[in-house]
């Protein structure tokens, strides 16, 4: 799959509910270096608006969101 950037870390949040995907995303992004990209996969439909809010609040850049039935994939670039 050509996504145009290299994923440095994959985070599987399938099956988890609010607020765990967000909390795990925050923990995962802390492990990355500036500019690196995190891929987070979730089944929680609430994680779509919540990831947008998380990105807005923290400033980490939500590069892309992919949506399949019942599956959400987020790409986040660490900005700070």
């Amino acid at each position: 799959m050509a996504i145009g950037y290299t994923v440095a870390l994959h985070l599987d949040c399938k099956g988890l509910n609010c607020p765990l995907p967000i909390i795990k995303t925050k923990k995962a992004i802390e492990k990355l270096n500036l500019g690196q990209v995190l891929e987070m996969i979730s089944t929680d439909p609430g994680s779509k608006p919540d990831m947008i809010a998380w990105s807005k609040s923290t400033g980490h850049e939500l590069l892309d969101t992919k949506e399949e039935p019942g599956l959400f994939t987020f790409y986040v670039r660490k900005t700070k």
């Binding site: 099956g15 988890l16 509910n17 609010c18 607020p19 967000i22 909390i23 925050k26 998380w54 400033g59």
Partner: protein
């Protein structure tokens, strides 16, 4: 009406100019806003959330802990003041043993007449069912959320007055808490908060 090719060209050019200018303005606005937001984030103090936890049931323990841990994940500063029955959440014996009370709760998944809910063992049964659902649906448990709260630097204040009133000692409470404080400490913290909540 006949339009000469020259007029047509002028009309197209005017339209293209209008669309391009509008789009350009949009793009500039977006970029400026994003740059401003980034700058504000860099210079401003973190947003602050102040929460009072005043109830000691399983269901009432969730909102303060979910909101506080999520606030921390959003790079906000969060503090929870545990007062009255909310202090129960911080007790070594309370943390994993909080109860869900079916009496006077018309929003039960399976509505239960109050008289039935008041029978011996019904609170235990309702709690068991609630905990099973929590586990099945992969929802964080209260002890898990408490661990996340401590790890992510959420301030957890036991209310000193409640401890006196209920005869609760520091050693009855879990580790990793702030020192017990009074209303003034919480209010001072809350007076610089962007969000204040009472649960």
């Amino acid at each position: 009406m006949t339009v000469t090719s020259q007029e047509l060209e002028q009309m197209v050019a005017a339209k293209v100019k209008e669309v391009a200018e509008h789009r350009l303005e949009q793009l500039v606005n977006e970029r400026v806003r994003a740059a401003l937001e980034a700058e504000t984030r860099k210079t401003a103090r973190p947003k602050r959330v102040a929460i009072v936890a005043s109830k000691g049931t399983l269901d009432a323990a969730y909102p303060p802990l979910i909101l506080a841990t999520t606030a921390a994940a959003l790079d906000m500063e969060a503090g929870v003041f545990f007062t009255f029955f909310g202090l129960h959440i911080l007790k070594k014996k309370g943390l994993g043993a909080l109860k869900f009370v079916p009496v006077a709760n018309p929003a039960m998944p399976m509505p239960m007449p109050n008289l039935l809910g008041a029978l011996p063992g019904m609170t235990g049964l309702a709690t068991l069912m609630m905990k099973q659902t929590i586990k099945q649906k992969h929802i964080a448990s209260i002890p898990e959320l408490m661990d996340v709260a401590k790890e992510s630097g959420v301030k957890l204040w036991p209310c000193q007055m409640t401890m006196e009133m209920m005869g609760i000692k520091r050693e009855d409470l879990i580790d990793g808490l702030e020192e017990p404080v009074g209303a003034a400490t919480f209010l001072e913290f809350a007076s610089h908060a962007d969000i204040t909540l009472f649960v």
